[in-house]
Each structure stands twice: as C-alpha cells, then as structure tokens.
C-alpha cells in the first residue's frame, strides 16, 4: 500500500506540471455511467437492501469486513475476526481478489464474479443481492485499493449506497463511484447459496465459479448449483455434464446417465461426456449402450481418446454374462 512513499517528486514545479497533465488526461474520462435502454426501462428508480449488517473496518481490514457483511447477509455465522486469518496478507497489508473468493467458498457459499458493467451492479442490487466491489479510490499511479459492499442505489439522484470503510450507508455519486470502480476493471462479486445464480453472469462464468466451489466443498454441496445452471442455460453442454458428475458422485446413477445424455445431445463432439456416459452405463450393466457411447468418445482425437479406447478394450475383453 505504500506506493506513495516510494514516489519522490523533485519539486513543486514538477508536481504542478504533473497535476495539470493528470487533470487534462483524466478530466474527460469520468462521466455518469449510462444504462442500456432495456436496463433503464426495467430497473426501478430506487433500491435499498435493508438487512445487510455493517462492520466498520479497522486498520487495513476492508476485505474481511466486506466479506463478513456479504456472508452474514447470506445467513453465514461468521465475524471479521474469523475472516482475517483467511484473507488478510500481512506483507501487503491488504487482501487480494482470489483469496476473497476463496474465503467465500470455505464458508459453503459460492462467489460469483458478475459482468463488469455498471448496469450489472444495479441489476444485482435490484434482485436483493449486496455486491462486494473493488475500487481504487485514488489514481492508477498511487493506488488506494478498497473493498466495499454496495447495498442500494437511487437513479433519481444518481447515487449509490455502500457500506464502506468506517461508514455505514455511505452515499457516493454514480459518477465518482464509477470512476473509482472502473480502475479495478469494474470487479465485483455476489455471495450466494448453492442453487441461486446472479442475473448478470454468462454460462462460462457460472460454470467456472461452481467448479471452483465443488473443488473445495464437494459434489453434494455443488449439485444444486449445477442443476440451477443447467436450468438457466439449457444449451450449455458442460453444465449438463457437471450435473451428471455431481449426481453420479452422490449415488444417483440413473440421473447421471440422463444428464450425460443431455450433454451430448447439446454438443455432439463433447468426447468427455460420451466417455462418462459410457462408463456410467457400463456400471449399470448396460454393456451395449456403453459400448456405443465409448466408441463415440474413442472416435474423437483429443485428451480423452486414449482413456476411451482403454475402457472400450476392457469392455471387449471381459467375459460375457448371460446367454
């Protein structure tokens, strides 16, 4: 955080020139962010999420404080003190983005990074979800990175409401907020219970977020999230594939086979789904259908071809049962 101290400006004249340059450079950049026509029509004029607890930050703890607010709103029993050892980096006197997300996973909730557009932020607030945002309150050359929790907005006055630093329900103009938020490339995330999805997210983003969660919390915890993604994005083959894996891991083999079938019907060349479909069918003793599916996987070049061939070979070498 002490980029400032490392900067040595020679004299006042240089500072003056720099100042002038900055004003000219940045003066044109900041403007009140505009909404798309669709968003402008559908978003209500005012939104305020009532029940977001506030935790004032001490020292450098805006990361843990913001996390505690978002997590508690989601019903997680936690505290700033409990979160500090999970995200705070003493050497940097702050918290970095990946660890903010990782800490959410450890509490059994999924962090979804939302689209980096201003209206995505308002859309999530309208849906009643507080949004953790990363701002650079100062300038790119002397950054002052800061996490805060957006909890409401007013389009009539063009103001955003945030639990920020030591101030609950701090009001910032859209223009000033967006200028500081844009410096983090408008990075923001919502904290959700598995099964809920943000509005402002695409299939790929939702899938990656849930896969990362599953890695930490396991298939059982992730299954509702996968089902929700497959429902929201019915054309995303990878979502059905993931549903199949999670169902299989929780013992629902019939359900897994159905999901793998949906995956390959959405994307015929998804070799890995054919492979898992074949293996799952074989487990249930459905050898003929398994052979067919494994053959589809083995026909395609790629990382799964070898494994599919091996599975196919072991199927053929096995002593046959029945008549």
């Amino acid at each position: 955080m002490f980029y400032l101290a490392s900067q040595r400006l020679q004299n006042a004249r240089l500072a003056g020139v720099l100042l002038l340059g900055l004003v000219l450079l940045l003066g044109g950049c900041a403007a009140t962010p505009r909404l798309s026509e669709n968003a402008a029509q559908t978003l209500p004029a005012q939104v305020f999420i009532q029940d977001v607890p506030f935790h004032g930050q001490r020292d450098y703890q805006c990361g843990p404080a913001s996390l505690a607010m978002a997590l508690e709103h989601q019903g997680v029993d936690t505290s700033v003190e409990a979160l500090i050892p999970q995200v705070f980096l003493p050497g940097r006197e702050g918290s970095v983005q990946p660890e903010m997300l990782a800490a959410v996973r450890r509490q059994g909730r999924i962090p979804f990074v939302i689209d980096n557009r201003f209206e995505a932020l308002l859309t999530e607030l309208d849906a009643g979800r507080p949004v953790v945002v990363l701002q650079n309150l100062a300038l790119p050359a002397w950054p002052l990175w800061h996490y805060a929790v957006a909890i409401g907005y007013d389009r009539d006055t063009n103001e955003l409401t945030l639990h920020s630093g030591e101030t609950p329900e701090r009001i910032e103009s859209f223009r000033r907020f967006d200028a500081t938020w844009a410096r983090s490339d408008r990075w923001a995330f919502v904290v959700l219970t598995p099964g809920e999805l943000p509005t402002a997210i695409d299939a790929g983003g939702a899938i990656d977020a849930t896969a990362a969660f599953e890695r930490v919390q396991g298939a059982q915890a992730a299954l509702p999230a996968w089902e929700a993604i497959a429902t929201r994005f019915p054309q995303a083959a990878m979502a059905h594939f993931a549903v199949g894996n999670a169902r299989h891991a929780t013992g629902d083999r019939g359900g897994a086979i159905a999901a793998f079938r949906r995956a390959v019907s959405r994307q015929e060349d998804l070799a890995v789904a054919w492979l898992n479909l074949g293996l799952a069918l074989d487990e249930r003793g459905n050898t003929e259908a398994a052979r067919e599916a494994l053959q589809k996987a083995a026909d395609q070049t790629g990382p799964w071809q070898e494994r599919a061939r091996r599975a196919l070979a072991s199927l053929d070498n096995r002593p046959r049962h029945g008549p």
Binding site: L4, A15, C62, P85
Partner: protein, 131 residues
C-alpha cells in the same frame, strides 16, 4: 559437461514425475473412474502438458509466497486449498502486482495535493471532506 548432464537428468526426472502427478491427483476415487468436471474444464482450457505441470507447481509457489507475506503457517494450507487452479496460477505468477484492498492513505504532500484536486473533480474518493 558432467555437471550439465547431471542437471539435465535431474530436470528430466522432475519433469517426468510431475507429468504423472496430475493424473495421480485427479479425483477418481469414489466416482467410478468417471472424468471429474474440473479435469474436463482444465482439459478444455489447457491442452498443453507443460501448463498442467505448471498448475501443480503453482500451489507450492503460492504456499511459499503466503508464508513470505507473513501468513500464519497454520492458516496457509486451508487458504491454498480454497483457490481454484486458475486463481492459484494468477497468484503464483503475479501476487506482487495484484491490487490488495486495504484503503490506507500514505501521504506525500505533492500526492496529497494532486489527490485533493482529483477528489474535488470527482475522479477519486480519498478524502471524505471533499464530498
């Protein structure tokens, strides 16, 4: 020449051992040998074997970096385990450049003046009294 050969063979051994690790580490147990979702996504994102080796090394690297940043060793393992592969890689590669949200003003006078002016212009938000 002998030293070079020794280094090369060490490198080769390390590469081969690491190359086999991702397969060994793939979560197969309890899932009937099915390919896991994360493994399938990884294969989509990274086709290069070298990159997959990098994934494994990345977590070790992050572990060391967290220690170096003063994180309690008792907390390090759980923190590293909660990262996704992509996040672990980002942290391994560029933790030093990552923004660390903290919000403390270290003040040099010239910078103070510049930020004061940009605050008044509504470009920054450092000093509460400018609003």
């Amino acid at each position: 020449m002998t030293t070079l050969r020794r280094y090369l063979s060490l490198l080769l051994i390390a590469t081969l051992v690491l190359g086999s690790l991702p397969v060994a580490a793939a979560p197969q147990a309890g899932n009937g040998g099915l390919v896991g979702t994360q493994a399938a996504l990884d294969a989509e994102h990274t086709s290069d074997a070298r990159e997959r080796i990098h994934d494994v090394l990345a977590r070790d690297d992050v572990r060391e970096q967290l220690m170096a940043q003063g994180v309690d060793p008792a907390d390090v393992e759980a923190r590293v385990a909660a990262l996704s592969d992509a996040e672990a890689e980002q942290m391994a590669d560029r933790l030093d450049e990552m923004p660390a949200g903290a919000s403390v003003v270290g003040a040099l006078f010239a910078v103070f003046v510049i930020l004061l002016v940009t605050d008044i212009l509504g470009l920054t938000n450092v000093f509460p009294f400018t609003r």
